[in-house]
Point group: C2
Chain length 305, copies 2
């Protein structure tokens, strides 16, 4: 793998050296390294670009790294990755995508990830997106996450896009069975003329299912953000959606959370707040010796932690 | 005016006998009574059905009644009413619409109300909708309220639709200038196979403007409700939207509140909650001697108060 990939892997997966577990490293639409482990098989798809990641039933404490890197301009990467998480397994999946542009051409990564979470399985899915490089070409990342969570399955998604991605459309769809749970924590920061769209849709179909979707974002410069979430309560279930955004400079932020209760025992809640950093918070930190800029940075760090 | 109108007036405007103030009573698309007062003129439109209500600048403590009644089946009423509220005036407008059907034919009232609230004026707008009668014809009420609120103007809307309206689409649009305020309190109850759609859109264009939109609803039977609100913060402003719904039986409720901040000093918040009546609330009231049904009724009354 090349030097840019090595740098990107550190940024998106905290990977420095060889991963401890199964892994597949994608570099400019090719495979730059792969390893299956005792309980996790990684296989190339035969009908389209991408891999199948098969986690054995009952596997515990396993990790799998599947970062994707685009290291130069003029790459249009499309990949389909399917995750089969066997019953009762407990696994951490470290995804993430880094794009480096070095020229005028745009580069794009579209990752379409499907999760089949079997009965009682637990998945922690970590996804970090970043853009770097001196190129003027746009860095575009459009992830799609489609999850089917079976009875008592539990999926946690922790996604972060802090800088350098010019355009992103993040689509997440989930269908939950009986007793299944989904927790999403999303953090986004945009600046310049970047745009970010988040689109969650969750169907709570099983009795006792629940979803908790929380998005925190900071919009700087002339960037634009749109947060959409739709929760359908079709059973005895609970759903919560929250979107908190800090708006700065000349940015624009929209929040459109949608709740639909189709069952008398569906309990659904959402909250959203958009506003700037409170002046008194900045003044407080300035009395501790920080400059206004430093105070602002500190508050944003805390907000996105 | 006929007996049905007299009954409907009591229900929608608490009017029994002559109103104390200016009034215009609409009965089956005709005028059943009108009176201007010293500071409020009511004039028929010449280009389309409807009236102009002109409130003099500085008029204080004035009231105007403008109920509309449909007293039988097969009426399709459409009316355009424009309200000109002079600078500094302080006025209460009691609108409201009652529909009585007695046959198989549907009856419909579409009221398109425009408000021009001048500098510093204050309007309290009360609007109650009801449907009665033994007819199988549908009772349909589609109100549109379009408000322009000038500097430091203040409009309060208090709208209630408790029973008997089979279908309603309630559209409210408001554009607020500097220091202007809008407060909306909406209460809706649907049952059977009724449907209710609420659609608010508020543009906060002036510095210091603010909107507070609160909707409370109860959906029973197989009824369907959709609550939409859009608040655009285009200036130094604050906006709040809240939708709380009790779902019962086989009803369906959707809440889609949308916030868009286009100014760094726009502070926007929304909240929504959909759920059934908490079991412990019912049990508590039952220990005081109420039946389950009575307890439920009590809780709903309190919720919609």
């Amino acid at each position: 793998m090349n030097k840019v990939t090595q740098k990107l892997l550190g940024l998106v997966s905290d990977l420095f050296g060889k991963p401890d577990g199964a892994y597949n490293i994608r570099e400019d639409s090719l495979c730059a390294g792969r390893k299956s482990s005792e309980y996790i098989r990684i296989e190339s798809k035969t009908d389209k670009p991408g891999i199948d990641i098969i986690v054995d039933a009952g596997a515990k404490g396993e990790k799998v790294y599947i970062p994707a890197c685009v290291t130069h301009s003029d790459v249009d990467d499309l990949v389909y990755n399917d995750f089969y998480i066997g019953a009762g397994a407990d696994v951490i999946i470290i995804a993430g995508c880094g794009i480096h542009t070095d020229g005028e051409g745009d580069s794009r990564h579209n990752g379409i990830h499907r999760f089949f979470v079997e009965t009682g399985a637990h998945v922690l899915y970590l996804e970090k997106h970043i853009g770097i490089g001196e190129g003027t070409g746009k860095r575009v990342i459009n992830p799609q996450t489609i999850a089917e969570i079976a009875r008592d399955g539990f999926m946690e998604m922790d996604t972060t896009q802090i800088e350098g991605v010019d355009s992103t459309k993040r689509i997440t769809r989930a269908v939950l069975g009986e007793g299944a749970r989904l927790v999403i924590r999303e953090k986004i920061m945009t600046h310049g003329s970047q745009s970010a769209v988040t689109d969650f849709e969750v169907e709570l179909n099983g009795d006792g299912s629940g979803a908790d979707l929380v998005s925190r974002s900071v919009a700087k410069g002339a960037s634009k953000q749109l947060f959409r979430s739709r929760i359908y309560g079709n059973a005895v279930c609970s759903g919560h959606s929250e979107c908190d955004a800090i708006i700065m400079d000349g940015a624009e932020v929209s929040a459109v959370p949608e709740l639909t209760a189709r069952h008398v025992d569906a309990a659904l809640i959402h909250e959203a707040a958009i506003g700037k950093i409170a002046g008194e918070q900045i003044i407080k930190l300035m009395t501790f010796g920080l400059t206004e800029k430093q105070a602002e940075t500190k508050i944003i760090e805390g907000f996105l932690k």
